[in-house]
């Protein structure tokens, strides 16, 4: 293999290692017992990488990448779920080449990785049996910076400004007057 290709490969290896280490340090709580799996083309299942904490993985990755055989691509990563090399279309676990180096596991049942969809207000309303009009009103209420009063709520369109906003406007008016 050409020297430039070897260098490039080593650089890529380092990049993978850095991503593992960074991501691990950011996302994984060693004390909580959260573990991750790292699959590499030259690190197969049962090779001792399973179930290790990110610190260990970090050191292993460093070791692996420094002594990486030149013929292996650092992106020969396994899709942990579907056992296929590289990206996997079916998998929701970010199996694209960019981020397919991890699989989150909750072996210790300490952290649960949610695989459901993020519930929107409409979904919550549907589950809890809230009429659509009311969901709309609550969404408007949640997004408003003003305080709805009982009286103005009857008028439907009205929204009374909050006391702080009133005070702000008052002060602004006074400042304008003083400037004049």
């Amino acid at each position: 293999m050409e020297r430039w290709a070897v260098n490039r490969e080593r650089k890529e290896c380092r990049e993978v290692g850095r991503r593992v280490i960074e991501h691990g340090s950011m996302e994984f709580d060693y004390c909580q017992g959260t573990v991750l799996r790292f699959y590499h083309s030259n690190v197969r299942r049962g090779s001792g990488m399973d179930g290790r904490g990110w610190r260990e993985i970090g050191s292993l990755v460093r070791r692996t990448t420094s002594g990486m055989p030149t013929g292996l691509s650092p992106f020969g990563l396994m899709c942990c779920r579907h056992n296929s090399l590289g990206g996997c279309g079916d998998c929701r676990w970010n199996c694209s080449r960019e981020a397919s180096i991890f699989e989150f596991r909750d072996d210790m049942n300490m952290t649960i990785v949610l695989d459901s969809t993020f519930a929107k207000p409409e979904d919550v309303g549907k589950v809890l049996g809230v009429p659509k009009a009311r969901v709309k009103w609550l969404k408007r209420l949640a997004s408003s910076q003003t305080i709805f009063s009982g009286k103005t709520a009857e008028k439907k369109n009205g929204a009374r400004t909050s006391a702080s906003a009133k005070k702000r406007n008052h002060v602004r008016g006074k400042a304008k007057k003083a400037a004049r």
Binding site: D29, F104, T111, V113, L114, T117, P121, D123, L128, L138
Partner: protein
Amino acid sequence: MAKPKKRRDEVFLNIPYESKFEKLFVAYIAGLSAFGLVPRATLEIPDSSRRLEKILGLARKCRYSIHDLSRVQLDPRKPRVPRFNMPFELGLCVAYASQNKAQKPNWFVFEAEANRIDKSLSDLKGTDPRIHGGTVRGALSGPCNIFRRPGRQPSVPQMMQIYRSLRRKQPTILKEAGTKDLFTKRVFVDICVAASAEADRAVAD
């Protein structure tokens, strides 16, 4: 190709319905909504016969359950008795989870004080409860330690933002419901929807 069916996780919220617990009640709703989960509670069940069956049905429907066992004190009013509802419902959930061998344990216990549960519910020895210390921030950081959503992971400050917004809007919701009590079905449902709307805005992709 048919679209994969959307699935939403529901969380059974087993907490004491007391005025002293209002802040934590809103905090739990804010925390769960920040994770895109749907809070469910026995408040939804109308007071009628066969209440127990309905509670069981609700607990079965929910994928996860959160049990706050921090109220172990005696009620100051007569008759001076502690509330047994929370431990009882925890027992139901534990029994249901143990029946389903395929399902992983999905119930979580919260307490205000460390080591107190060893005395109040010693059968749970070996299960570490999450200690919230009776604070809002503690109740919000609890779900953070339990759940993780790839791509849309909320932070505690974001949860606090949702919580504060809910507390600001609480008088309006109560007024609309024509009650001063937070622990009613209508108010609970409204708070959940408002929390979800706020979470959708606050927790970015």
